[in-house]
Symmetry: C2
Subunit: 210 residues, 2 copies
DNA sequence: AAGCGTATCTTGACGCTGTCAAGACAGGAA
DNA sequence: TTCCTGTCTTGACAGCGTCAAGATACGCTT
């Protein structure tokens, strides 16, 4: 009989992989990505230093698995931030922007992990991560594009590119905050509000339809 | 008599601080920020492991000094990217954007260092760095603001905030490229072109003056 | 020119990291 | 039962940043 509730001190942990991921998420949230070492992680989970290597090829692989969870959450957030039908377009954009910033600022270290070079630059990301991340990107772009084509863009503008640009703006704002470059959060919110306002203004350039 | 030309193997290096910074810049460019360790740096400079500690309090302090150089270059670039008088506003924006992207993409690792959390988040940045960096930020914002007020923004828009938003967009694009998330450079240039185009469109919303 | 203070540089050591190799243990299949 | 295989452990190695103590030589004072 398996005792899933409390793993006291048995040789085979039972579900070490999940336990590691959970513990890693907590360590990440509490002390940041720099403090997330395999040895500390193993110690906290009550297991030897090299035990994680039987469930993850690398430290990099573990981080990828952790980030994968994050992208699933992000994708879910994008789904939830849909418009109530008949809502104003400007309000919809504002709502979307707020949700994105919230996602990043509520879990700064997770965002840093998901979009940091630790995962993407050094050593190729896992296939699983690549897939879920790109899915979230496409999902975001589609949502924004949908908002845009319901209004009318200036001639020659491609909704996809505009959506990508908006994503870059949001990502840039988040990074500036999270990396500690731009420290005043109130300022940042004004900046993002201004960006949304510009966007709305440009959408009114041509004929606007309800 | 001092022999500044070749430092063969004397006990006192002469100008170790500069030599370290130069070597560090090269190591950074060649192998990236992850490969930039004090020990390798010291070895390359032909000096013992702890010698750098007599010129920099920390590894962090050395990185700050290196980044300071980078921000001076950035500031210089902003100065050079000024408009020829009488130039079109849209052309001016495009020119500015191109220069910024070029700056980042030509020296990716330097940009990563300058705007990375390694410097800003972990341990406070040097006073010198803080000053030169904020100067560059203000310089950038002023240049863009100047472009904007020469045209006319929609009612209620504040040029400074718009300038900051444009910076966030550029920074976001650079980060997405440099961190390896968005890999297609041609795509990114289209996105940035689209962003500029939107900006120009919104500037035409109210009355445009030459 | 001599002496000395001090800035500079060196070796040794400590604890931390990621990772490999080899062995110990347990659970499932034959 | 026997044995294979997946899981976990201890031992070890190289590399990292950094501190402490000692060696060296430059440059100012006399």
């Amino acid at each position: 009989m398996k005792n899933e509730v409390q793993p006291p001190a048995r040789y085979h942990h039972g579900d070490l992989r999940s336990a590691l991921l959970a513990q890693a998420a907590e360590l990440l949230r509490q002390e940041g990505i720099e403090a997330l070492s395999l040895r500390r992680l193993a110690e906290r989970t009550g297991v030897s230093r090299t035990a994680p290597y039987h469930h993850f090829k690398d430290k990099h692989a573990l981080l990828c698995a952790l980030a994968t969870e994050g992208f699933r959450q992000l994708d879910e957030m994008i789904t939830e931030a849909r418009l109530a039908p008949g809502t104003d377009l400007a309000a919809g954009l504002r709502r979307f922007v707020r949700a994105y910033l919230r996602f990043a600022l509520d879990n700064p270290e997770q965002y840093e992990l998901m979009f940091g070079r630790a995962i993407w630059k050094n050593g190729q990301p896992t296939d699983e991560l690549r897939e879920v991340a790109y899915h979230a990107f496409r999902h975001y772009a589609e949502r924004i594009s949908a908002l845009l084509v319901s209004a009318s863009l200036p001639r020659g503008s491609r909704p996809l590119r505009v959506a990508q640009a908006s994503w870059a703006t949001l990502h840039g704002l988040c990074k500036l905050m999270l990396d500690g470059i731009y420290v005043d959060q109130a300022d940042m919110e004004e900046v993002s509000a201004e960006a949304v306002q510009l966007m709305v203004a440009v959408l009114g350039t041509s004929t606007t339809q309800t």
